[in-house]
C-alpha cells in the first residue's frame, strides 16, 4: 500500500472511532433528557 493510502486508511479509522464516540455520547445525552 502506498504511503498516501496508508495515511488515508489511518485517518478513516480515526474518524470511525470519533464517530462511534460521538454516537454513544449523543445517545447518553438523549437517555438523560428522557429520564429528567
Amino acid at each position: 500500500m502506498s504511503s498516501l493510502g496508508y495515511l488515508a486508511a489511518v485517518n478513516v479509522v480515526i474518524w470511525i472511532g470519533l464517530f462511534a464516540y460521538l454516537w454513544r455520547l449523543d445517545r447518553r445525552v438523549s437517555e438523560k433528557e428522557r429520564s429528567s
Partner: protein, 220 residues
C-alpha cells in the same frame, strides 16, 4: 435526523479517503503538503460558523432571556475554539513543511491566534462570574463584542500586509483557483465539517442544559 447523523459516517470516510487519494497535489507546494487544505480550511470555516452561531444566540438570549439560547451560545464558542485550535495546528504543520518553521508570526497566523485568544477569554469570563443570573448576560454581551472583532481578525487583518499564506478561496481574482477533483473534495469537506459542527453543537448544548437544570435542582 438520526439518518443524517448515520450518513455522516460513510460521507466523511469518503471525503477523507478522497482527500488523500483523488486530487493531484497542487503545483508550487512541497510534496503532498497542499492536501492539508482539505482539513485546515474546513476547520477554519467551522470555527467561523461557530462564532457566528454564538453571536446570533447571544443576541437572542439578550432579547428573549431564554437560558437555552445561552447554552447554545456557550457550546458554539467551545466548539468554535476546538476547531480554531485545530486550524492553528494544521496551519503550523503546513508552515513547518513549506516555510521551514512551525510558527512565523505571519499576519494570518497572528490574527488567527488573536481570534482564538479573544474567544478563550469568553470561557474565562464565564468561569469567573459565579452568579448564574449575571453569567449568561455578561457572556452574551462579550460574545457580541467579540463578534464585531471576528470578521476583522478573520478577513481583514490578514490581507492588510503581505503574507506567506497561500491564496485563499476569497482572492483578488474573484474565482476559485482549483481543478475539479480538488474543488469537489474541498467543498465536500466544507459541507462535512459544517454538519459535524452542528452535531457537536447539539450534543454539547443539550449536555449543558442537563447540567444547568441539574444545578437548579441542587440549588432548590
Amino acid at each position: 435526523m438520526k439518518v443524517l447523523k448515520l450518513l455522516l459516517l460513510p460521507y466523511m470516510a469518503a471525503v477523507i479517503g478522497a482527500a488523500f487519494l483523488w486530487p493531484e497535489p497542487a503545483k508550487g507546494f512541497i510534496g503532498e503538503s497542499s492536501r492539508i487544505v482539505f482539513f485546515h480550511v474546513p476547520c477554519a470555516w467551522a470555527s467561523t460558523l461557530a462564532f457566528i452561531v454564538a453571536a446570533v444566540y447571544s443576541a437572542a438570549f439578550l432579547w428573549k432571556g431564554k437560558p437555552w439560547y445561552d447554552d447554545i451560545a456557550a457550546a458554539a464558542v467551545r466548539i468554535g475554539l476546538l476547531f480554531g485550535v485545530l486550524t492553528l495546528i494544521t496551519g503550523s504543520l503546513f508552515a513547518r513543511v513549506m516555510w521551514g518553521s512551525w510558527w512565523n508570526w505571519d499576519p494570518r497566523e497572528s490574527s488567527y491566534l488573536l481570534l482564538v485568544f479573544l474567544y478563550s477569554a469568553y470561557l474565562f469570563l464565564r468561569a469567573a462570574v459565579e452568579d448564574p443570573e449575571r453569567r449568561p448576560r455578561i457572556a452574551a454581551a462579550y460574545a457580541l463584542f467579540a463578534a464585531v472583532l471576528m470578521p476583522f481578525l478573520t478577513f481583514v487583518a490578514p490581507r492588510v500586509t503581505a503574507s506567506l499564506h497561500p491564496q485563499t478561496v476569497i482572492n483578488p481574482q474573484g474565482k476559485i483557483l482549483m481543478d475539479t477533483p480538488t474543488r469537489a473534495v474541498f467543498f465536500g469537506a466544507m459541507a462535512g465539517f459544517s454538519a459535524l459542527f452542528f452535531w457537536l453543537l447539539s450534543i454539547d448544548a443539550r449536555a449543558a442544559r442537563l447540567r444547568r437544570t441539574g444545578e437548579n435542582l441542587h440549588r432548590d
